[in-house]
Structure formats: structure tokens, C-alpha cells
Amino acid sequence: EADIYQTPRYLVIGTGKKITLECSQTMGHDKMYWYQQDPGMELHLIHYSYGVNSTEKGDLSSESTVSRIRTEHFPLTLESARPSHTSQYLCASSGRDRVAMNTEAFFGQGTRLTVV
């Protein structure tokens, strides 16, 4: 069973507030990802990391920022939330198995963010 956790599961917040979405994994995976997804729609990669102190922007431009100070932790921050940020945010991690092959990505349960 995957050991990747996202908090909160649901968040309703007012416009202009600063928020941080938490993501932690206990599998020691080097790669971590943040995706933004509207229900049932395409997954858009917004940030990814290859390891500690490594962060890259994804294909979808996002006003959010991320940090990777520890291997297991990859939080996403919105400095000033807006209604356009309303979406589901999915965190994932992947690593290597015993024969150094890429594992699949393990996903958290997601955070459904609503900005009012």
C-alpha cells in the first residue's frame, strides 16, 4: 500500500489568503510531483522535484510555489488564493525498485481546494 499523504483533504478558503497544501511520503522516493486537475479532466503537471533542493515548474503555469527541503516532504504554497485556483491538487511520488527501474507513481488522495 502506498504511503503518501496529503492534507487537508478539503479546504474552503477566502480570496487573498495564503495556503499551504501538505504532501508527505514515507517511501524514500526521490521524485515528487504536483498535479492540478478539475474533476474527471486532464492532469496538469505544475511542479516536480528530482530530490532535495531540486524543484522545477511543470507544463502548466501556476502561481503556486513548492519547496523540497526534506526527501519526504513536498509542500505547495499559494501566497494569495483566488477563485481561479479552485481545483483538485494531487501529489505523487516515484522511485526505483530493486533492479533500479522506475516505479509507478504513487498518488495521495488529493486536496480539493475551493476559493470563495
Partner: protein, 113 residues
């Protein structure tokens, strides 16, 4: 650049029909990995299968089967005797040995009783 194409946006079938979901990928790398995920209405992503570029063997798992063909850069997914519980959005994904994970746009499968 890498890319995953799922040309079928939505498929509707009646229970017990077989259905194939198409996935075509693009990459210049010789080492890569392909995946299929299922996303039911509850929203979580459920991993179904991983295939690396050196393993072209087809795989069958119960009612699910996968056909990986490097010659056509395709990794198609077939559900035999579909059931209502198979209704979900299915995503194909690609990762290179040292790059980010890229998803196709997904195919919504609706299975009617």
C-alpha cells in the same frame, strides 16, 4: 520531447462488451516506462500496470489485458466483458529514466447496465 496521446475522449459501452482504450506515445529515448491508471468517480488514482521499454510481452490480469507494441509506439488497454464498476477515467502515462511523469488527457469510459 515526450508526449502521450489518448485520442478517445469518451467511450460508452453496454455491460459485457469488450472495450479497448488506445494510448500512443512519443519519445526518442530507448529507456522509458509506461503506465495505466484508473480514476473512478471518487477521484483517487489507482495504478493498474507498469511496462518498461525492454519488455514487450503482453499482459493479462483477469478481465484486463495490455498490448504493448514498440513498432507503433502504442500501449493499448482492453477490458473484456466490461462491468458497470469499470466506469471511470483511464489515464496512460509515460516516464523516461530521468524525467518527469507525463499523462495523456484520459479516456472516460461509461459502462451501462
Amino acid at each position: 520531447a515526450q508526449k502521450v496521446t489518448q485520442a478517445q475522449t469518451e467511450i460508452s459501452v453496454v455491460e459485457k462488451e469488450d472495450v479497448t482504450l488506445d494510448c500512443v506515445y512519443e519519445t526518442r529515448d530507448t529507456t522509458y516506462y509506461l503506465f495505466w491508471y484508473k480514476q473512478p468517480p471518487s477521484g483517487e488514482l489507482v495504478f493498474l500496470i507498469r511496462r518498461n521499454s525492454f519488455d514487450e510481452q503482453n499482459e493479462i490480469s483477469g478481465r484486463y489485458s495490455w498490448n504493448f507494441q514498440k513498432s507503433t509506439s502504442s500501449f493499448n488497454f482492453t477490458i473484456t466483458a466490461s462491468q458497470v464498476v469499470d466506469s471511470a477515467v483511464y489515464f496512460c502515462a509515460l516516464i523516461l529514466a530521468t524525467d518527469k511523469l507525463i499523462f495523456g488527457t484520459g479516456t472516460r469510459l461509461q459502462v451501462f447496465p
